[in-house]
């Protein structure tokens, strides 16, 4: 504790000043929303059934996205960090491409691949009668496409920074690669994994462009909170403000909660 305090007091003031500007920059837009929000109408707007439907759909799809990103993203991150194979940097660039793509373009690309006339989607449609556009599954596909890279990049960086000697030692003692990953790699990267899941989840929760392009917008099926909010901006700007604040509150509570619950403990463990 004492060591931490002395470190704090010796922080150079230009760094503090710049950090303060950053905090203000992030805080002011939210302050603006809070300032403009029509507080007298909050209960009316929030009690509308459509709001609950959109919020529930958002939570449901973004959590499924976080789970899927975890299941597929962690092995990919491990592959990129630990296995040296030809074309690795190409695969890494491919996996992160959707981060730089404008989401609407991503949505159109999803049409060309998973749509009813898409490269892969046409067979889904013809052989199994599965259609992804305009369905809740389509929302999850769009969210995964945009959000999973955040988890992959975070986890990959963590695995790279890990001292590989522990893994090597376990391997020489006869542990299988999978066992080493499960018992040594995974526990060591827990903070990064939690951060990656949180990032991917947050990105999925706020996803707009790819969703409205690929999955469309229909209340109860594909209309998530960002879509409901954006469309409310056209008809009822006051409702849009309240919806934005609701989304911010939900994300804020989850992100802060996650951090304290998972990363807080982890940090203490390391110190002691």
């Amino acid at each position: 504790m004492t060591r931490q305090r002395s470190r704090q007091s010796s922080l150079p003031w230009p760094m503090l000043a710049l950090a303060g500007v950053s905090v203000a920059f992030f805080a002011l837009p939210f302050a603006g929303l809070i300032w403009r929000a029509p507080w007298s109408k909050v209960t009316d707007i929030l009690s509308e059934k459509s709001v609950g439907t959109a919020l529930w759909l958002s939570l449901e799809t973004s959590l499924i996205t976080a789970l899927i990103s975890c299941i597929f993203g962690v092995p990919l991150a491990w592959l990129l960090a630990r296995v040296n194979f030809p074309g690795r940097s190409f695969v890494r660039a491919l996996a992160t491409l959707s981060m730089v793509l404008p989401p609407v373009v991503g949505g159109v690309a999803l049409f060309f691949s998973f749509g009813r006339r898409g490269l892969f989607g046409q067979y889904l449609n013809d052989w199994f009668g599965i259609r992804l556009p305009f369905t809740t599954a389509g929302v999850v596909i769009a969210q995964c496409f945009v959000a999973m890279p955040f988890l992959v990049l975070t986890v990959e960086a963590a695995i790279r920074q890990l001292d590989s000697r522990y893994e090597d030692a376990a391997r020489t003692l006869g542990a299988s690669r999978l066992y080493v990953f499960r018992r040594i790699t995974l526990p060591s990267i827990k903070p990064a994994l939690v951060a990656g899941v949180a990032l991917a989840w947050a990105r999925a929760l706020g996803e707009f462009g790819a969703t409205i392009t690929f999955a469309g917008n229909l209340p109860g099926t594909t209309q998530t909170m960002p879509l409901a909010t954006y469309l409310a901006l056209e008809s009822d700007p006051e409702a849009a403000l309240i919806l934005s604040l609701l989304m911010i509150t939900v994300s804020f509570v989850v992100l802060v909660g996650l951090r304290d619950r998972w990363l807080g403990h982890q940090r203490n463990d390391l110190v002691s």
């Binding site: 749509g115 006339r117 305009f134 409205i212 392009t213 469309l231 056209e234 008809s235």
Partner: protein
């Protein structure tokens, strides 16, 4: 380092030129905020207008009428506002941001948009109610969504909606890609989309004719040039360009 310097210099140069243009008394720069459905026709109109009025240069800002109405109320710097419907113009007029009254300068009509070649052989509004048909439109608040509801009501047809798109372009994209089967859009959009989609006309007695309205904004410092632009829209020359793009007379 030199690269960096030139990167910084380019925007700076831009600023200097912009500064010159606005301080120069010989040419007036008109900023026109217009609904995105006017993009193609206004680019032609603007070219013709600038040819006839060498002392005026025009810069267009195209977005949806509702977005523009919102931006104008938040202080968007513009001289003229052209809206695809009376309702969004009223938002600006009611806020006291318009100088004088809005003027109608063009009309449009609706058509059913289907995939290129009309593979499902859709030839009437009634067919849009076919079970399993993927019909896309916009929310009622977006002009085209309201008009679609009106036309379907006129025809006595109830449809199942697969998606409520954010604007006309969303409907066109999904139909052009073959992901949706049909939608209802402006006739001019189908003309502008060229070969990528097919249009199916709607009978005149059930069709609607949206009005396009224009007005000069209160804060404009170019009232005179703005008025000249609006007069040009309703001139014989202007109306000829509108009809080339499929718009009806005011």
């Amino acid at each position: 380092m030199r690269r960096l310097a030139s990167l910084v210099m380019i925007p700076l140069l831009g600023l200097t030129f912009a500064g010159c243009a606005s301080s120069d008394d010989t040419t007036t720069s008109l900023r026109i905020a217009a609904t995105s459905s006017l993009t193609e026709v206004f680019n032609d109109i603007g070219e013709q207008f600038m040819q006839d009025n060498p002392d005026i240069t025009i810069a267009f800002n195209f977005a949806s009428s509702s977005d523009l109405a919102l931006q104008i109320s938040q202080g968007l710097p513009a001289d003229v506002f052209a809206s695809a419907d009376v309702k969004n113009m009223a938002k600006v007029t009611d806020a006291g941001l318009l100088h004088g009254q809005p003027i109608t300068f063009a009309t449009n009509s609706l058509e059913i948009v289907v995939e290129k070649g009309n593979p499902l052989f859709i030839d009437s509004l009634a067919q849009l109610a076919t079970p399993g048909l993927l019909f896309v439109t916009c929310p009622i608040e977006v002009p085209i969504g309201g008009y679609t509801a009106e036309v379907l009501r006129n025809a006595g047809v109830t449809v199942t909606v697969a998606s409520l798109e954010e604007n006309v372009k969303g409907i066109l994209t999904k139909v052009a890609l073959g992901e949706a089967d049909a939608g209802i859009v402006y006739r001019t959009d189908i003309l502008a989309a060229g070969n990528s989609v097919t249009g199916v006309p709607i009978a005149d007695n059930i069709n609607v004719n949206p009005l396009y309205v224009v007005g000069v904004l209160q804060d404009s410092r170019n009232q005179d040039a703005s008025q000249r632009f609006i007069i040009f829209l309703n001139s014989e020359q202007g109306q000829k360009i509108f009809s080339q793009f499929g718009f009806g007379p005011a």
